[in-house]
Structures are given as C-alpha cells and as structure tokens.
Amino acid sequence: MPGFTEDFYVRYYVGHTGKFGHEFLEFEFKPDGQLRYANNSNYKHDVMIRKETYVSQAVLEELERIVVDSEIMKEDDRNWPEPDKVGCQELEVRRNGEEISFATTKLGNLLQVQQSKDPEGLRIFYYLVQDLKCLVLSLIAAHFKIQPI
C-alpha cells in the first residue's frame, strides 16, 4: 500500500474535433481534493457538462493507490502512437516530485495496443485510463446523478 503524498495530482483528457465540433471528456484531481469534470458532446444535444466538487482524503488515497499500482510512472510515451485526427488522449500525473504528461491517440481496442511499438507500456495506459474514467464517472454520477455520454 503506497503512502499518501500531499502533492498528488491527476488530469486526463480524451477528445477529438470532427463533424460535431470539439467533443471531449476531461477531469482533474487537485491535491486539495478538488475534482473537476467536463464532458462536451455536440451530438444531438448541445450540452457542455462542467461539474466540480471536493472529494475526501480516502478517495484521493484510493486514486493514488490505483495510479501507483499501475506503475504508469515508469512508462514513457516516446514509442506510443502520436495524437492524430482520430483523437487525442492526455494523462498528467504528479507525485513525489515526479511528473508525467503523456499524449497519444485514442485507443479503440486492445489489438491496436498490441500492434504498437510499446505494447507493454501502452497496455498499462490503456487499462489505467479506463479504471480512472470508471472511478470519476461513478463519483460524478453518485454526487450529481448524471448519466455520462
């Protein structure tokens, strides 16, 4: 179980610009517990959802456990596919004086991960962002009763 760190910060973005404009989902956790969430899809309904709240220490600790257990901080995006027309994903983590700011394209499936130049690293990213999204969507849904797009 990793120790809790006071400077822990996470931000994730996924999005693309296309027929329906700039569609994206983004969230960040600040060290003081602030969680910000934005989701914009222009498809059929013009809604931009922007929500914020403060989560408890226990939520931050669980988030940190998930990030640390994934060992994402040991990876590097050097050999990952570049962001492109299909889309862009960004993951930023700060912890214990180390920071990562990774960017890659949208990953539709595991096959794409396996065929990349860094399947081990990209797989860690692929699963971690799903686990993070899952946590955030549940927190937002539980607090605001929003069904994400």
Partner: protein, 150 residues
C-alpha cells in the same frame, strides 16, 4: 453550440514547484488541450460547515479495501444495517475483471451514512477490514502550498 470559451479563472498550472523528474510529450510543446478545464463549473452548496457534503439524492460513503470477489449483494448485506441503501457503485478492474477495491454506498439520510462511517469503518467484510468514510467534502482538504518539498 455557441463557441463559448470562457477565459476567466487561471488554472493552477503546477501546485508543486520542486519537480525532480518530468517525462512525456506534454512537456515538449504547448499543444496540450488543457484549456478545456477553464470556465465555470457547477457544484453543490454545502451547509457552510467543514464536514461531509450532501449529494443530489442523498449521502454517499466511500468504501476501500473491498474484497476482489465482492458482489453488490454482499455489500448491500453489510451496509443495510445502518439504513436503507439507495444505491451501490461497485467498479471492476478493466484488465482482470475483479472488483477494483472500492465501492460507493448511497443513503437517503445523513444519519444513516454517519452510522455507516462510525460503525463499519474497520469492520471485517469478506475476511478483509474495510475503510468507510465520506466520499465528498464540503471544504478543500488542505491548502495547496507552493513550496518545495524534500
């Protein structure tokens, strides 16, 4: 959609000045799309206190240390003693398919949720002690300091 890109509210770029090691494309140039986090965010008003924050439909407690084979039903049984469980969020690890290790339990009344926090924190759940706390806070947990850390 109106092309409304609000510019107010500088985002905190970095909360820690002493970064020893940086890695990734995000540091190479300014192509980051982070500006989407600018703008006005909606939140829920607390009661002005420093304690837990009420959610739209009730009070949510956060459970960690949840056994990887736990089910919603197991959780319901464990938490129903404190009150009527309105909702359960139990997420799975996307790679393994097992429970990720945390859950959220929603009660309609603060008293019920408080009882869960008081009585079930540290309790044994499927042979493992679980941590039971509030999920949301009405105040920041700490002041973000702009100092270097050793």
């Amino acid at each position: 959609m109106d092309e409304d890109v609000p510019s107010q509210g500088q985002r905190v770029r970095s909360t820690v000045t002493a970064v020893r090691k940086s890695k990734g494309r995000g540091f190479q140039d300014n192509r980051s799309t982070r500006e989407e986090l600018y703008g006005t965010y909606e939140g829920l008003e607390g009661d002005g206190g420093t304690g837990p924050l009420k959610s739209v439909e009730g009070w949510v407690v956060f459970v960690s240390g949840v056994h990887e084979e736990a089910s919603e039903e197991d959780l319901h049984d464990h938490f129903a003693d404190c009150g009527d469980v309105k909702n359960i969020y139990l997420n799975l690890d996307r790679r393994t398919g097992f429970v990720k290790g945390y859950a959220m339990i929603e009660y309609a009344h603060q008293q019920e949720a408080q009882q869960a926090v008081n009585n079930l924190n540290g309790s044994d759940f499927m042979t493992q002690p679980v941590k039971v706390t509030w999920a949301f806070s009405s105040k920041p947990l700490r002041r973000i300091e702009n100092r270097s850390r050793r």
